[in-house]
């Protein structure tokens, strides 16, 4: 049987430099192929260059769609293929939908253009399509603008739009990455159902092995522009042949934490009682001119974090977990009690003595690209904390301490010459290196508590594993207390001693991590745990 799509010797280059090297794969009609790889592996470029959707790329090779070579088609012929025989859904539905038109108008446009429907027919078909993607009240949603829909609904609308032209092949580029964990499963199930119904083939581009296992029939693994392995999912996952595939499969976070021995009478490093954080929000109508409404982002949260232990806080976006992190850093006004050791943030702020507390609670943020000032060198970034907390320290000694911190996070080994590293700027470092820098910046003031706000969710899986290992090691050596904020149940399982599950600002479940994750009581926790497997 001839395959639906037969890609041979595909090479993609930018400015004469190849980023995809002679890869080949096939997709049968109705088959689900997953293209996996880490960022920079060329998986998205390979797939999108088939439709010439990558700017300034030189594409060579052949890509036969039912015997026609896509790469030889004229721009005009290709336009007929795009969206008609091959449709694409993108990662970020908010930017992929035009904010000025309603969802219904955008889908109807496809129907009128590609299937020659009249406006009235299209309107009916839009509602049917939206209904098939499981959006509640499809008639009303068809008249909604993208910003009026939730993230999951937007992605469903994107899928409806892609399906409007009844494509033979659907390219899904990280379709669930921008969504919350519990939605990911639903969207994937939806894609599976629709794929079966329409009998179309799906090319899923992803970095998430869980998705591959759950969704795909076959998998192709890419590493730095090379296709290193492909085969049936069950086969590849059970017996990976290529070392990179093995490394990728082994990159699930590993649990490696110890129970610290702490004197019983020592107060917790960080303690919250009845912690509430509220934001003012505008009220609708004339009332909003005179007073503001109140949004309770965090409601009556209690926790104790002892030295050497990790308290995981898990929840989806909007659950208040990041607000909790900022409050723990003393960066948000709050009510209730929030103590660092013996002292309280609120009373320290009233007395104007927060600086001593700041030295004890430090932070590592999620995005390694926005958490380091792009115009400062590594030495300035890491050394800044010392300038603040030990202003009298002479420069050579400060530099010595910076080098120590860089060694502690594994950026430098003692035999390296440190100068090259100290003069570097953030843009010259990889994501993992930046995250290590952020950790070094926090460590240099010798804190007792580190607030880790999604510390690894922007990193590739293999790098994530290394950074988590580093954090575990630092905790063992220094007895650091971690407040670990994440949406990733795997990371919680690997790192935490206790866990809080947050939903809409409240703690819905708490307890020792393995107990909570293995035997979740609250339905929301169950949903989270299920979505992660």
């Amino acid at each position: 049987m001839t395959p639906l799509l037969d890609v041979r010797d595909l090479r993609v280059g930018f400015n004469g430099v190849d980023v995809v090297h002679r890869i080949g794969f096939t997709i049968q009609a109705g088959e689900k192929l997953a293209l996996v790889g880490e960022s920079g592996s060329g998986k998205t470029v390979s797939a999108l260059s088939l439709l010439r959707l990558v700017q300034n790329a030189q594409v060579q090779g052949s890509a036969l769609l039912e015997g026609r070579d896509l790469l030889q088609l004229s721009e005009r012929e290709l336009r007929a293929v795009r969206g008609d025989e091959v449709a694409v859904i993108f990662q970020e539905p908010m930017t992929a939908l035009n904010p000025l038109y309603t969802v219904g108008e955008q889908i109807a446009e496809v129907l009128q253009l590609k299937r020659g429907m009249t406006a009235a027919q299209a309107r009916q078909e839009v509602v049917a399509l939206l209904a098939s993607t499981g959006i509640p009240e499809p008639e009303r949603r068809a008249g909604a603008y993208p910003h009026q829909l939730s993230g999951g609904q937007r992605q469903r609308a994107m899928i409806a739009m892609a399906l409007a032209s009844r494509p033979k092949l659907l390219i899904a580029d990280e379709p669930t990455t921008a969504l919350d964990v519990s939605l990911r499963g639903q969207i994937l199930d939806l894609l599976s159902d629709l794929q079966r119904e329409h009998g179309m083939a799906v090319l899923l581009i992803t970095h998430d092995l869980n998705l591959v296992r759950r969704f795909a029939d076959r998998v192709a693994v890419m590493e730095r522009g090379h296709l290193v392995e492909q085969g049936a999912v069950a086969h590849v996952f059970a017996a990976p042949q290529h070392p990179y595939t093995r490394r990728l499969l082994a990159s699930r976070p590993r649990r490696d934490v110890v129970e610290p021995t702490v004197a019983a009478d020592q107060p917790p490093a960080l303690q919250a009682r009845q912690l509430c954080v509220t934001y003012p929000v505008p009220l609708p109508g004339v009332r909003g001119w005179f007073r503001k409404g109140v949004f309770e982002a965090v409601q009556q949260v209690d926790f104790d974090l002892a030295a050497g232990r990790t308290l995981g806080v898990v929840g989806e976006s909007g659950s208040g977990k990041s607000t909790l992190a900022l409050a723990a850093l003393g960066l948000l006004p709050h009510s209730g009690e929030l103590r660092v050791g013996q002292s309280d943030w609120a009373s320290a702020a009233a007395a104007g003595q927060t600086r001593a507390l700041r030295q004890r609670v430090q932070v590592v943020f999620q995005d390694p690209f926005s958490s380091l000032s792009p115009r400062m060198t590594v030495e300035q970034i890491v050394g800044e904390g010392l300038q603040v907390h030990q202003p009298g320290l002479p420069r050579p000694q400060r530099r010595e301490r910076v080098i120590d911190a860089l060694e502690a996070v594994g950026l430098l080994s003692p035999e390296d010459t440190p100068d090259a590293w100290l003069q570097r700027y953030p843009h010259e470092c990889s994501g993992g290196q930046r995250q290590r820098l952020a950790i070094a910046r926090a460590l240099i003031v010798d804190p007792q508590v580190l607030v880790l706000d999604e510390p690894t969710s922007a990193l590739d899986v293999t790098v994530q594993q290394q950074v988590l290992g580093l954090l575990q090691g630092l905790q063992r050596e220094r007895g650091l207390g971690y407040l670990l904020i994440t949406h990733d149940v795997d990371v919680i399982r690997a790192m935490a001693h206790e866990v809080l599950v947050m939903k809409e600002g409240r703690v819905v479940e708490r307890g020792p991590v393995l107990q909570v994750l293995d035997d979740p009581q609250h339905p929301y926790t169950r949903q989270l745990v299920q979505a992660a497997t």
Binding site: N15, L326, L329, G330, L331, T354, R355, R358, Q359, V361, Q362, V363, F365, Q366, D367, S370, S371, L372, S373, P374, R375, M376, T377, E384, G385, V388, H389, D419, A420, Q423, R424, Y425, H427, E428, A438, R441, A442, V445, V451
Partner: protein
């Protein structure tokens, strides 16, 4: 180490700027013109630079000498364009070094051979205006006044814009709201009327003009800086700095400001050219610099009044076009160099 030397973002921007040939050469050309115009006294002056007269050395550029010094009849300042004085200074062992263009901006050549305004001649290379002043000298000095005025106006406007924008953007909330309303009110004041009223009430001077134009010149930039500050203050590195215990002032100075200067730098050449144009048009309307100050705008208005004296309008026009073009080329190159979306290849 030399091969892997780290480049700061500013250095990288400079290298990108240098790669833009047109912009880079415009910068060099403009800098050369500015430096030359700063040396205007040496290039174009009605006094000799050095005089050797009867065994003594004189420096007319810095000292005034009465005509009697050089054998004249009067106690008044020497007119070095006087054929008699010229003869005295070249007799015997005497000599004098003249500037290449022996006229100052206000020099009236009483000894010209053709009536005013005179077309370009061997004496006046670009001709004279309708009062007999040398055009080349006026252009050189007028260019200098324009550029220095534009530099001062740009500097003041930039500093004011950064300060006000930074305050609004960093503190946000009510401060921002109050400042924004103030800017709206302030910006709706009729600038030109104020200029006309003030130039009628007060004696016109460059300083007054600088103050009046500065009062209104900071608002555009302030908005850009405000937007940059609003964006940067909620970046994670600012949060991390707060968590580290830095003061507001330290955060602004070390973290937010350096990352917010892109629009400021990008707009510098365009602000310069706008300032030059503003001065020129005010001078043209007679609202600008006091009479007697060399000015491109005043020359343009002379050109308009003496249409047949084509050399006045044509040469002034050429100077203005070249200046503004150079600035625009620089601005274009700078904008490309600062564009974060452009990657190094």
């Amino acid at each position: 180490m030399a091969t892997t030397a780290s480049l700061s973002p500013a250095r990288r921007a400079w290298q990108r700027f240098k790669r833009n040939r047109l912009g880079y050469w415009s910068l060099l050309a403009f800098a050369t013109l500015v430096v030359l115009s700063l040396l205007a006294e040496v290039l174009s002056n009605d006094r000799p630079l050095v005089v050797r007269y009867q065994g003594q050395t004189y420096w007319p550029l810095v000292h005034d000498y009465p005509e009697t010094t050089f054998g004249g009849d009067f106690e008044s300042n020497t007119d070095y364009l006087d054929p008699f004085i010229r003869e005295q200074l070249s007799k015997g062992g005497n000599w004098a070094v003249y500037a290449p263009n022996p006229y100052g901006p206000k020099t009236l050549n009483y000894f010209a051979k053709s009536p005013n305004p005179s077309a370009p001649t061997g004496d006046n290379w670009l001709g004279t205006d309708d009062r007999g002043r040398d055009l080349l000298a006026q252009l050189i000095y007028g260019f200098r006044v324009s550029v220095l005025f534009a530099l001062a106006l740009t500097a003041i406007g930039t500093v004011l814009g950064i300060v006000t924008g930074a305050i609004q953007g960093f503190f946000g909330g009510r401060t921002d709201l109050a400042f924004q309303r103030f800017i709206e009110i302030w910006g709706s004041m009729p600038e030109l009327y104020l200029l006309i009223i003030f130039s009628a009430v007060l004696a016109p001077s460059i300083g007054l003009l600088l103050v009046l134009l500065s009062l209104f010149g900071w608002m555009g930039l302030s908005d850009y800086v405000r937007a940059e500050f609003l964006r940067n203050r909620q970046m994670d590195y600012v949060r991390a700095a707060r968590a580290m215990g830095l003061t507001n002032w330290q955060i602004i100075w070390r973290h937010v400001l350096p990352n917010s200067l892109t629009p400021v730098v990008t707009f510098l050449p365009f602000r310069m050219s706008a300032a030059i144009l503003a001065l020129t048009s005010l001078d043209f309307l007679g609202l600008g610099v006091p009479p007697g100050t060399p000015s491109l705008g005043e020359l343009l208005s002379q050109g308009k009044n003496n249409i047949d004296a084509w050399w006045i309008s044509l040469s002034t026009f050429a100077v203005l076009v070249i200046t503004l073009l150079l600035l625009t080329f620089m601005g274009d190159a700078l904008r490309d160099a600062m564009d974060p979306r452009k990657q190094d290849t």
